[in-house]
């Protein structure tokens, strides 16, 4: 819409000019509006000054000189490239003869530990979750499903990582852990180190744990692997830059909060499939993040 200068006040013209200025500078106006803007600019000193100032800003911005880092950043960069590495043969299949092998920044130690953990976690957790989905439903039917009783049973050692029939005080009893990491049977939050609320154990999970064939319940499996990964993550935190670590810690805290909230909700409503599913997702999110950190 074009406004003629004779039909509106000068102030209104200026307001209209300013309103269309952004589009004018981007050449987004039609021909008549463009012409009106050009005409007004030539008639109005204030608007002409505004345009001139903006054109100066635009011109200066496009010619800003590069800024020099206050220190040499190469050392820090090189340090992050410089871990002992192993070549991955499959990367070079089909490569032309004589092509130098590009090294991957995966250390032998990290590769071995992370690969073992990923396989163990994926297989065990998937199996347990799938089994719980079946057994949990069955057990809640067959046990009479008194939530209070189930939660009370969930406080027993069997539900927090010790195989059925083995007292946690029996230090001579062999631990049922696939990875011999000292805190692997611990039940603490990775980010906070605080104990997990035991009364938030799921009914279905406990029922599974009571089955001799299932020495591990899902929560314990999660916590075991999270605890194992924690050692790797803690070491990686010592190697990553502080900004990255801050972000990762914050994310873990957020996930931990989601886990705690889900556990609390599940304690109130142990048979809630929605809450149980939400807790699983939160635990999986935590594992997923920790795996990524381990492989960074």
């Amino acid at each position: 819409m074009t406004t003629t200068g004779s039909s509106v006040s000068h102030a209104n013209d200026c307001a209209h000019f300013e309103a269309q200025l952004g589009a004018w500078l981007e050449h987004d106006l039609d021909a008549s509006a463009q012409q009106w803007m050009t005409t007004h600019r030539h008639r109005c000193a204030a608007c002409a000054r505004l345009v001139a100032d903006l054109e100066t800003v635009i011109a200066d911005a496009s010619t800003l000189p590069p800024l020099t880092p206050p220190r040499d950043l190469w050392q820090g960069i090189e340090g992050r490239l410089d871990a002992p590495v192993i070549p991955i043969p499959s990367t070079f299949v089909g490569a032309p003869a004589g092509t130098p092998a590009r090294q991957r920044t995966v250390t032998v130690r990290w590769f071995a530990i992370a690969a073992t953990l990923l396989v163990a976690v994926s297989s065990v957790v998937t199996w347990q979750v799938a089994r719980r989905g079946i057994t949990g439903m069955t057990s809640s039917d067959s046990t009479g499903s008194n939530p209070a009783q189930v939660i009370a049973r969930a406080d027993t050692p069997a539900s927090v990582g010790v195989p059925a029939g083995i007292s946690p005080a029996d230090s001579s009893a062999p631990r049922d852990v696939s990875l011999d990491i000292p805190s692997a049977t611990g039940t603490t939050h990775v980010a906070t180190g605080s104990p997990l609320p035991r009364n938030a154990r799921r009914a279905g999970v406990t029922a599974v744990a009571n089955d001799d064939a299932d020495l591990l319940d899902v929560d314990v499996t999660y916590e075991r692997e999270i605890s194992a990964l924690r050692h790797i993550v803690d070491e990686r935190f010592g190697e990553l830059d502080s900004g990255t670590v801050t972000v990762l810690r914050r994310n873990l805290e957020i996930i931990d909060q989601a886990i705690a909230d889900s556990r609390t909700a599940l304690a109130r409503d142990p048979r809630s499939a929605v809450v149980s599913s939400q807790l699983d997702r939160a635990l999986q999110a935590k594992l997923s993040l920790m795996r990524r950190v381990a492989l960074l």
């Binding site: 505004l50 635009i58 200066d60 800024l67 020099t68 950043l73 190469w74 820090g76």
Partner: protein, 165 residues
């Protein structure tokens, strides 16, 4: 470049030396935080090292590098949820321009850019400093071209106000 892409670290260091200033500049201006910009500059080159084998040479290396840098910066900003660089003004003022012949006006503009709200600053730097189109900015930031244009105009007006105060 090809040597760096095949894992030659000395060659990659030469790549770093040749492009560090430009990457650092865009980091400082988009983040409004000099210390953070140093970290992100390092992140950018680590990322470039990882992605170099996939660089096909379809675009100029400097263009490709610049896009990687912007992606890393945007990712970092998103993660940190930076709303506004509180220390941006003094941090940016500490930075020494590599061509010291333009001093006061350049620093005024640098300071004014650092003082912009984060959203407006990001778009101003991408468009008016780095030369991206609104379509490219919209794609990178997940906004419409209209939104990009509106933010750009807002940024320019704010800069004018700051510079003519």
């Amino acid at each position: 470049m090809s040597a760096a892409a095949t894992g030659d670290r000395q060659a990659f260091e030469r790549v770093y030396r040749a492009h560090a200033e430009r990457v650092f500049s865009v980091c400082v201006r988009m983040l409004g935080d000099r210390v953070l910009a140093e970290e992100v500059t390092q992140d950018v080159f680590v990322r470039v090292w990882q992605k170099l084998p996939g660089f096909r040479g379809e675009a100029a290396f400097s263009t490709w590098l610049h896009r990687v840098a912007v992606n890393v910066i945007l990712s970092r900003r998103k993660n940190l949820g930076i709303q506004h660089g509180r220390h941006a003004e003094e941090d940016t003022l500490e930075v020494t321009p590599s061509r010291p012949d333009s001093v006061s006006e350049r620093l005024d503009l640098e300071e004014a850019i650092a003082g912009l709200p984060a959203g407006a600053r990001r778009i101003f730097v991408l468009h008016d400093v780095e030369g991206f189109t609104h379509e490219e900015i919209g794609e990178q930031l997940g906004i419409t071209t209209g939104g990009s244009k509106a933010q750009l105009h807002r940024a320019r007006l704010l800069l004018r106000t700051a510079l003519t105060r």
